[in-house]
Point group: C2
Chain length 118, copies 2
């Protein structure tokens, strides 16, 4: 895999809320599939499918411990994706002074929508 193919897989793997949540969980330490399944209202096979996508993208790896085979976050692909975005950070930080306000506005709208639903 070259850098472009790795970015394809990393960004595709990140394009799902469950997979992003799994990565957030693993950032605080390794965990077994059972432990990873708990916070989600999802079957273990559904979680396993997401884990395969993450593993295929090199974002997680499996520990050697025979029974648990704990999953661990692998930081390199995330760092590479971050590096790609970093090149354009200048673009949005420099040219768009209103951006912070805009992001704040988007989040306030989200919160209002969430409150209405709840």
């Amino acid at each position: 895999m070259n850098s472009s193919q790795r970015l394809d897989r990393t960004f595709a793997a990140l394009a799902d809320p469950t997979r992003r949540a799994i990565l957030v969980r693993l950032a605080s330490g390794e965990a077994s599939v059972t432990e990873l399944s708990k916070p989600f209202r999802m079957s273990q096979p559904a979680i396993s499918k997401h884990l395969r996508v993450l593993e295929h993208a090199g974002l997680i790896s499996r520990g050697r411990e025979a029974q648990r085979r704990p999953r661990r976050l692998e930081p390199a692909p995330l760092a590479e994706a971050d590096e790609w975005l970093e090149r354009y950070r200048e673009f949005w930080e420099g040219s768009f002074e209103r951006l912070d306000a805009l992001l704040e506005e988007m989040k306030t709208k989200d919160r209002k929508r969430t409150r209405k639903k709840g």
Copy 2:
């Protein structure tokens, strides 16, 4: 769309080398579809399809100029994706001292592979 749905669309849109290249091009200024098609060995309909994905994700917008309808980069979704990754930057910067070396190693391998092909 809430923040999570926006991240889904942004990351999915970034999971393609042509779409990333289009964003890179637009970071240096707006461009028409014809201008965007030139560097790619791709038909205009194929480019238009990629542009629709980028537009759907809010990453680009269309200018008002009747004939050209130039596309423009919209930075907010990229900034939001960057913000998501930023939260985990600490994880890979702190815990993985070998990461820089690892990224360097991956890139050296890429270059060697490219040279072999060429």
